[in-house]
């Protein structure tokens, strides 16, 4: 299909008719509803799937779900995640899990919010939450540690309770 190349009429060649038409189009916009949003006051509605800050979650019994398998650390394309594996307390309700992260660091300056960590996690322990304003003043502050991540993540309803059955 050859696109039609409009031939300008004498009328068009006088500039003004088309300019006036354009001015009519722009004029109509002046009373229209604004398309932009007044950001800090009006926050954008986020869809269910929104991929914001990655966080760690606990199960309803306050157990840290992460077991430091380090799959997320491996899959993370920009290498934003560092997991320092450690031992769970040998006594106590979740002794069966044996392993937990002694620290879990996500460098938000590196994170690209791709969500591969959430997808890779075999324990449903890491989720991308809806928070998105994660700026800080220093690079060091951009590194979120385990405590902060757990605080952001909160409690995740666990349908399966994998470790309970063990």
């Amino acid at each position: 299909m050859i696109v039609e190349r409009p031939k300008l009429t004498i009328w068009d060649r006088l500039y003004m008719p088309q300019i006036l038409k354009g001015m009519w189009i722009t004029l109509k916009h002046i009373p229209m509803k604004r398309f932009t949003r007044q950001y800090p006051e009006e926050t954008p509605p986020l869809p269910k799937r929104y991929r914001g800050v990655p966080t760690l979650v606990r199960d309803p019994e306050q157990r840290v779900k992460c077991v430091a398998c380090q799959l997320c650390e491996f899959v993370c394309p920009p290498r934003a995640i560092t997991v320092i594996p450690g031992f769970r307390a040998e006594t106590g309700p979740d002794a069966k899990v044996e392993k937990e992260p002694s620290d879990f660091i996500i460098d938000m300056a590196r994170c690209i919010y791709c969500g591969l960590c959430e997808e890779a996690c075999p324990e449903e322990a890491i989720f991308l939450k809806k928070d998105y304003a994660m700026a800080s003043y220093t690079r060091e502050q951009m590194k979120l540690h385990k405590e902060k991540l757990l605080e952001l993540g909160g409690i995740h309803e666990d349908r399966i309770c994998k470790w309970k059955k063990k």
Binding site: G22, T26, H29, I30, M32, K33, R34
Partner: protein
């Protein structure tokens, strides 16, 4: 002693200077705000509305920001000319305002600073000064993009200066005066000159767009081509002066159009169609004048956010091949018509 006409005259002059300065210095920053908000509305945006109610204090914030910015003076610039250029752009527009009647009279005070007989000639002569500022800014920056901007500007402004002058000749032929107050008064009696001379009005307004470097004729600063043209190397207050100058030019242009074609301070019905005898009518005249100027300013803004930009050679072709002959033909046609009417 206060009633001494000589002293009163001096006091009036002082008041008028203050009024003109006040008008310029208050309208210009708000023109900038108006431009930003109107363009935002046209583009479905909100525009600056954070500083003060609906962004009304934005101009102050902008001014403060400009003042507090680092004033950079590169090593390669010609320092004297470089510093002088912004002032050269700003000054002529203020000078032109001296001859424009911004009202009829408020009490005993006539609302024009200098009611000179060759007012329009003065205005044309002085306005063409601002090309020096821009050309010199481009040259003194000693840098390629500003240089191109300066060159474009000089050529463009001089070309359109010709059309500007020629387009007004029919007016002078009809009114028989170069005095702006006289032209306005002529319009109060005979109706707006726009109606008599639509072609002249069109050429004049279009040329003013070119003179003010407004889209579609904003080649000297053409953001997407020359980045910002002649003012690339400027910062801080010097840049602010350019900025102010540009909008002051727009203001002056609007005032000129109002005065020459839109009946100045008058409205075509009583009591606004004759010089004021009472103070409230005088004040109303000033209001009418300002309103007309604002409408013109709106037109400037509106057009800018609608159309694309000409190319340099197209712009020159338009000026010399279309407007210049058109203006000449217009003069001839008007002369013929006037001759016919006089002889009939």
């Amino acid at each position: 002693m206060w009633t001494d006409p000589a002293i009163l005259e001096w006091i009036f002059i002082l008041v008028k200077i203050i009024v003109i300065f006040g008008l310029v210095l208050s309208i210009v920053p708000y023109t900038v705000l108006a431009e930003r908000r109107i363009c935002a509305w046209i583009q479905d945006r909100v525009g600056p509305n954070r500083v003060g109610f609906q962004g009304l204090l934005q101009p102050i914030a902008d001014a403060l920001k400009l003042m507090l910015k680092e004033d950079m003076l590169s090593n390669h610039v010609h320092k004297v000319v470089f510093t002088l250029a912004p002032a050269l752009v700003f000054m002529p527009s203020l000078m032109v305002l001296a001859v424009i009647p911004w009202g009829s009279a408020i009490g005993p005070m006539t609302c024009v600073l200098s009611d000179m007989n060759a007012g329009m000639l003065f205005a044309l002569a002085v306005a063409s000064f601002s090309v020096y500022g821009i050309a010199l800014a481009g040259w003194a920056s000693n840098s390629k993009y500003p240089f191109l901007g300066g060159m474009r500007s000089a050529a463009q402004m001089i070309s359109y200066e010709v059309c500007l002058g020629l387009s007004l000749v029919p007016l002078f032929m009809q009114t028989g005066s170069l005095n702006l107050s006289a032209i306005v008064e002529y319009q109060t009696q005979h109706g707006w000159l726009m109606l008599y001379h639509p072609v002249a009005c069109f050429i004049f307004i279009t040329s003013l767009f070119a003179e003010c470097n407004r889209t579609p004729f904003d080649l000297p600063e053409a953001e997407q081509e020359l980045v910002s043209g002649y003012n690339i190397e400027y910062s801080s207050l010097k840049f602010g002066l350019f900025f102010l100058g540009e909008y002051a030019n727009m203001l002056v242009a609007s005032a000129l159009v109002t005065t020459l074609f839109l009946g100045g301070w008058s409205l075509p019905f009583a009591p606004f169609n004759a010089p004021a005898t009472v103070i409230w009518v005088g004040l109303a005249h000033v209001g009418i004048f300002v309103a007309k100027v604002c409408a013109m300013l709106f037109l400037f803004i509106w057009v800018r956010w609608t159309v694309p930009r000409f190319r340099y050679d197209q712009l020159m072709a338009l000026g010399w091949k279309v407007f210049f002959p058109l203006a000449l033909v217009n003069i001839v046609v008007v002369a013929v018509i006037m001759a016919c009417r006089a002889n009939l």
